[in-house]
């Protein structure tokens, strides 16, 4: 069996235009992890069950392990590596660190991307809304409590920052 011919796929990742040679059956997760060296997004099940591979595409969380790389041609993709501003962590990342929202840290990149997409659309979500938004991301360590607290803290800090900005 010959490996399928590769084509060049181009998308915007974390603000940069990136090109990557992919086969028709290459997933977005494989392209990110093995093609572009963005190993922050994780593979937990490779079939869309666990959410560890979640990235944000054009503002919505998607499961990179069941998204074909070629289907992302020209799209805007943000991974966990794209949240921080240079060496400064994103306030959501910082909140996860402060609250103990990451234990083993393997589901964390995916959880962060779902939470980030939520806060972009809904800056002050209720706990029920957070739970719903994160229901596609399995975490085996925390029992979710510290994750909820982290998202709430990030939302609070953000609203305080916004209020300060206005005054």
């Amino acid at each position: 069996m010959n490996p399928p011919a590769q084509v060049v796929c181009r998308f915007q990742v974390n603000g940069d235009v990136r090109e990557c040679a992919v086969a028709p059956n290459t997933t977005l997760l494989e392209a990110l992890r093995y093609g572009l060296g963005l190993t922050g997004s994780k593979q937990g099940c490779d079939k869309g069950d666990c959410g560890a591979c979640t990235v944000v595409m054009d503002g919505a969380p998607v499961l990179a392990c069941i998204t074909l790389a070629l289907a992302c041609e020209g799209r805007l993709i943000t991974t966990v590596e794209g949240l921080a501003h240079g060496a400064t962590p994103h306030p959501l990342q910082d909140a996860f660190d402060v609250c103990g929202g990451a234990q083993c840290g393997f589901c964390t990149p995916g959880v962060l991307m779902s939470a980030w997409a939520l806060l972009e659309h809904n800056p002050s979500p209720t706990r029920a809304e957070i739970a719903l938004a994160l229901s596609g991301n399995l975490c085996r360590c925390t029992g979710y409590t510290k994750i909820f607290e982290a998202v709430e803290l990030a939302a609070t800090r953000r609203s305080v920052a916004t209020a300060d900005g206005k005054s």
Partner: protein, 829 residues
């Protein structure tokens, strides 16, 4: 005092030389520090007990933490394992020629290439990396391929031709016992018996006969698996000098190091095991697996690095999870609530291999003897082999199942004598500084406070037996070990070692074999060094779990890390602290005790202006005075346990205690149980970092809840028309682990009993808080519906069956009448 019988005692194990134990006076004794191990170095703590960040937290949230599969080495090949499609089959032949002919395929290995037997417990080495003669479960590994890509390796697997002779499969405890001739594991001494333990303490039958009420119950605990989100992954790199480096998502780098060397025929000093960041383990990565041996063998044959990453399906086959257990309990109580005798008969479904099964079999009885006094206790536990993936240690190893049964028994006994179940638990409290019926030493014990906390927080008195039909609360308690005296292979060396380096840059580097699997043991090391040497956390670097660089720690299992690694680290840090403080005291002309090191500053209270310098400068002065600064520290358990064979299994230098109250909301029409909330009170001795302790408590309670309601690692029975031993759904869709929507609200209540031997008084928090989840939910369901859920999981079909089996309403009504003497208003519905 106690009468101990153990069938194995009659057959002395030839591999344990008599008199091998070092005489007491020659054994390592940890140093005694001024103020003891529990005290703060200065007047109060500056780091310990604070809600600090974890050391590796920011790396994890920014995607920079490097897990095994994130590593890639030059010229690296990818390996895949071929797995058996039969539950039990003799391997007649394996023909790899077509696979080898495929472009991009570099090697195929089979059982003949890795013939050595191994096993985590040296007395039960009954596994091979690849089955040579026989496959023992669907998914047992029989060949491995190395190819240019993962895809090519997977294609090649399909081209390997295996000729099987299918054998009768054993898929249940009863089949294993009834058909000893269908031998699953040839290493078993007798039939399909993996291990049998019978121990008796006191006259159980007489104590039970002397009871006012006796409850007998049969319980079934279904198997479940760890399902860490990171699948197992290993990369082996054998170089031209004959040196093997293995990166692996393991939680026991040291044991892996030993077994790798042995199975591959390499001297241990030519093997290096490195544990990258591990994405969850829960016991599921606490022994060597086929992928590690196969990656190493392939790398040795090919002279190139080889990576093997398990698929999610393979993680379910690797398993080593919770043993299914069938438990019969007979327990007596007197009218005043005193527990009398406890009689347990337990059958354990072990799967195809031994794993930690010897320990599991002991733990199933040994770890039940606190927090309650019992006058007499007997357990008879039998682990059997079956043609299913091997069970092993999952969070709360061996003791979660009996704890479920026993705490349900206590609930029934309390009702039988008309006492509140919290009150019964209180009345039987074993106390601090006590000894259990099976000879275990209990020192600190905050169980009463745990009970009080959950009673108060849950408004127990207003709600128990007082809520409307369908809603209820239940309570349960437990204890767990903070590491165990029983070292997996016999030796007299420390259980944990730490090396500490200070230098003139003002940085401290801690080297330790400890395995961080997300619980934060690397942070524990940093907190202790920061506390003792007055450093800020950013000034400390931890190098962990790299067998070339770090002194041995036995790894992350038995909830041993905080206690044992913490003590080793405290030892190393106090040695250097002594030098630094001594140097400054000399310079300032004060007593060493007057020197304070905190927040990067060395100072005294008497002259804060002149007697003050940075810790960095203090290190420089100390280095000038004493030479290059380094120290070692270690921890070894004191001699503990009962004076009988197996008496050290379950012996721990400190026990943690937990109490839960669970609240449920049940739908009697559908059988759907919703757990609304679990209050978790846990005595962790002292919380070195309360955020981390709460995280362990919540994660444990969640995992217990998951086992109670959702998870089943189950297989097609041998009686099925086809597919005997096939896993019911080896995926995270079919094997239902709770999502953020399923998980109840969890409230952590930390209790600090300050253990006399723990580092600053700390004990474990990682496994204990799982135990009471399951029985607390079961007891809450009884309060809500009047049915006793004695079998896991409490799924809707199971609950409906129980509701239809008898008059649950009448039982429910009666339980209420008994408590308050009148029918509560809500009962009319």
């Amino acid at each position: 005092m106690s009468r101990a019988k153990d069938e194995a005692a009659r057959v002395p194990d030839p591999r344990v030389p008599s008199g091998r134990q070092m005489p007491e006076e020659n054994r390592l004794t940890p140093p005694v520090w001024p103020g003891g191990r529990t005290a703060a170095p200065g007047t109060d703590f500056s780091v310990i007990g604070r809600r600090n960040r974890k050391l590796e937290g920011l790396a994890k949230v920014t995607g920079r933490a490097v897990f095994a599969d994130d590593l890639s080495l030059p010229r690296m090949l990818h390996g895949k394992l071929l797995r058996s499609i039969h539950a039990h089959a003799r391997i007649r032949s394996i023909d790899p020629s077509a696979a080898l002919a495929m472009p991009g395929v570099h090697a195929v290995i089979t059982g003949r290439d890795l013939p050595a037997w191994f096993g985590i417990i040296p007395w039960t080495e009954d596994e091979q990396a690849l089955c040579e003669e026989k496959a023992r479960y669907v998914g047992d590994a029989i060949a491995a391929v190395a190819a240019d890509t993962e895809l090519a390796a997977e294609e090649a697997l399909r081209l390997i031709r295996v000729e099987y002779e299918v054998l009768p499969a054993v898929t249940s405890i009863d089949e294993a016992l009834e058909h000893p001739e269908w031998k699953v594991n040839e290493k078993a001494r007798e039939g399909n018996i993996s291990k049998h333990v019978h121990l008796e303490f006191g006259d159980v039958d007489a104590r039970i006969a002397d009871s006012d009420e006796v409850i007998e119950g049969e319980y079934w605990y279904e198997g479940s698996t760890h399902a860490p989100i990171e699948p197992h992954c290993a990369i082996a790199d054998f170089d031209a000098t004959g040196f093997l480096t293995l990166y692996s998502s393991t939680q026991v780098a040291h044991y892996l190091h030993r077994d790798l060397a042995r199975v591959l025929g390499l001297p241990t000093q030519r093997v290096r095991v490195i544990q990258p960041v591990v994405g969850g383990a829960f016991g599921g990565k606490s022994e060597p697996f086929s992928l590690e041996f196969c990656a190493a063998r392939l790398s040795m044959d090919l002279g190139r690095p080889v990576k093997i990453l398990y698929t999610r399906e393979e993680v379910f086959y690797a398993h080593r999870g919770r043993h299914p257990m069938r438990m019969r309990y007979r327990t007596g109580i007197r009218r005043d609530g005193t527990l009398t005798g406890v009689d347990a008969k337990i059958h354990i479904d072990g799967g195809a291999y031994s794993s930690f099964g010897l320990v599991t079999t002991y733990y199933s009885g040994q770890l039940l003897s606190a927090p309650y006094k019992m006058e007499a206790y007997r357990f008879d536990s039998t682990r059997v082999f079956t043609n299913k993936p091997c069970c092993g240690p999952k969070r709360g190893h061996g003791s979660v199942q009996p704890r479920f049964a026993f705490e349900c028994q206590i609930d029934k006994l309390a009702e039988a004598v008309g006492l509140d179940p919290i009150e019964v638990r209180r009345r039987n409290f074993i106390g601090e500084n006590s000894r259990t019926v099976n000879g275990m030493r209990v020192t600190s014990n905050g169980f009463l406070e745990c009970l009080e906390q959950v009673e108060r927080a849950s408004a127990w008195k207003e709600r128990f037996r007082r809520m409307p039909y369908g809603r209820g609360v239940g309570v349960a308690g437990s204890m767990y070990i903070s590491g165990t005296n029983y070292c997996i292979y016999p030796n007299e060396m420390p259980q944990s070692g730490v090396q500490l380096k200070l230098d003139r840059s003002g940085r401290a580097t801690v080297f330790c074999g400890a395995s961080d699997i997300g619980q934060g043991v690397e942070s524990v090391l940093a907190y202790i060094v920061a506390e003792e040497l007055g450093l800020t956390l950013g000034d400390i670097r931890v190098v962990a779990a790299d067998t070339d660089l770090t002194p041995v720690d036995l790894g992350s299992y038995s909830s041993r890390e905080t206690f044992m690694v913490g003590n080793a680290c405290l030892d190393a840090a106090r040695r250097l602290r002594g030098l630094v403080v001594g140097t400054l005291a000399e310079a300032w002309g004060c007593a060493p005790a007057e020197v304070k090191l905190a927040g990067g500053i060395a100072s005294t209270a008497r002259d804060a202006e002149r007697e003050r310098m940075s810790v960095k400068e203090a290190f420089q002065r100390t280095e000038a005075r004493h030479g290059t600064l380094g120290s070692v520290g270690w921890y070894q358990t004191p001699r503990l346990g009962g004076d009988y064979r197996g008496g050290t299994i379950g012996a721990s230098p400190a026990y943690s205690f937990t109490a839960h109250v669970a609240e449920v909301d049940c739908d009697p029409e559908t059988g759907f149980i919703q757990v609304k909330k679990i209050w978790v009170a846990h005595d962790c001795g002292r919380a070195l970092n309360p955020v981390a302790v709460e995280g362990q408590m919540e994660g444990s309670a969640y995992m217990g809840f998951a086992e109670a309601l959702f998870e089943e690692q189950v297989f097609k029975p041998a009686t099925a028309a086809h597919g005997a031993g096939l896993h019911h759904g080896p995926s995270l869709l079919d094997y239902r682990i709770p999502t953020s929507l399923d998980t109840p609200e969890l409230e952590s209540l930390i209790v600090e009993s300050v253990d006399p031997e723990g580092p600053y008084g700390a004990k474990e928090a990682g496994e204990g808080p799982l135990h009471p989840s399951v029985p607390a939910i079961a007891n809450a369901i009884y309060d809500a519906l009047g049915i006793r859920c004695d079998r896991l999981p409490f799924s809707p079909p199971h609950v409906l069956r129980l509701l239809r089996a008898g008059d649950a309403r009448a039982v429910w009504q009666k339980a209420r009448g008994q408590r308050s003497g009148h029918v509560p208003a809500g009962a009319r519905g």
